[in-house]
Amino acid sequence: MEEAILGVRDLSKSFGNHEVLRKIDMEVFPKEIICIVGSSGSGKSTLLRCINRLERQTSGQVLFHGQEVRDVQSEINEYRSKVGMVFQSFNLFDHLTVLDNCMLCTRKVLHLAKDEAFGRAIEHLKQVGMAPFIHAKPSQLSGGQKQRVAIARALCMNPEVLLFDEPTSALDPEMVGEVLTVMRQLASTGLTMVVVTHEMAFARDVSTRTIFMDRGFVVEDAPPQELFQHPKSPRTREFLSRYLEG
């Protein structure tokens, strides 16, 4: 069996007395497209943020290629440079142009030469169809365009795995389509992806594995055909019926 890129061991997270994640175990293997679904407050975004170390887990471990990502800032930085993240609210740098957004971290974190960073930026901006907008500022773009730039920015780091935290939740329906198209196309390139989403059709059609979370637990973890057609747990059935009816 191939080695997992990411591992989550016995991970719990509480905010005060509120337990958000309860003893989560999961692994992400190369080329997997994992969709994490569940109702709001089920802990799926927190799980993703714990994986990226934006939240610190209360207990348990995050593993990268079998090695624990320890509580050392330099190790965390290095790990994050290999694990990309796309946010619900895009988090593009507001003061920089599209091009500079895509070049800042390749220059300052990976220390690439200027022309190499530029080449990467253009390559990935073309991939998401945003290359003509290199001189624009984020405030001049639509939500869908911003998210596509954010995806290109993350790709410029050549991440081994890309985490998506509800990438389409802040977008209107028309823009959801353009972002999902880009994500489908990315999935077809063999990029490893972990996607927290409410887009059930995307999870069903694109993911290689779908995880259903509820109240901080992983309730079900199965290939999408299985999870969507023959959900084992009643909670999963209830959740899916609300999304898939009609």
Binding site: F93, P132, I134
Partner: protein, 258 residues
Amino acid sequence: MAMAFDFLTITNPQSSLEWMVFLTQKYFSMFVEGTLLTLYISIIGTFLGFALGYVIGVIQDLQVSKVDLLPKRVLVGICKLVASAYVELFRDTPMIVQAMIIYYGIRQVGVDITPVAAGILVTVLNTGAYMAETVRGGIGSIDLGQREGAWAMGMSPLATMLYVVLPQAFRNILPEMANTFLTNLKMTSVLNVIAVQELFMAAKTVGGNYYKYFESYLVIAVIYFVLCFLFNKVFLLVEKWIRGTDDYALAIEYLESE
């Protein structure tokens, strides 16, 4: 220089306006030197004060987490304590008192500091304390998502501060920085108490020679006003320039026909 105004020469001033012209002509170089010194102290003092304010503001914003080692946490704690003590001390005492204490205090311990150097030092320390609060507020005004965007790509917290947070905070606090400079330009007048020969001191001296205090101070009021007015306009232009245009050019070389 004075030659150009010869046709205006007044030898026997009567009205206040005539006195103002008379005093300006007679003590032209004194007013010019006072103006230059006022500008010199306020410009140097403000810019060094800004630098100090940025450093202190960033220190006040430092966050330690369980990720950090104990020595670092202790060090950061001490820095923050010193920074907030400094900010409180200088914001809670009048600048005129600070000037006296610093000037005479330093001389008392045997260092022969000039009034101008002491004046700049007071301005720097005073500006730094106010600026630190402004910077802290400016940093706080930047959405946490901006930092997370950078952290998530492996950027260190310090680099994130330098490349992502401060450039944006800078824009937000630019009007306040302009304000601080104008305040300093006027506040240098209190430095006359430690014998700095700035504008206020010039007016005091000139006024004393003819017992024409009203006219003499009116002259420097005009000078202060004109200076502040002009700088204000300059700052507005700078702000506009930094904000940039609302337009952007499509990079047509990358337009695809798909």
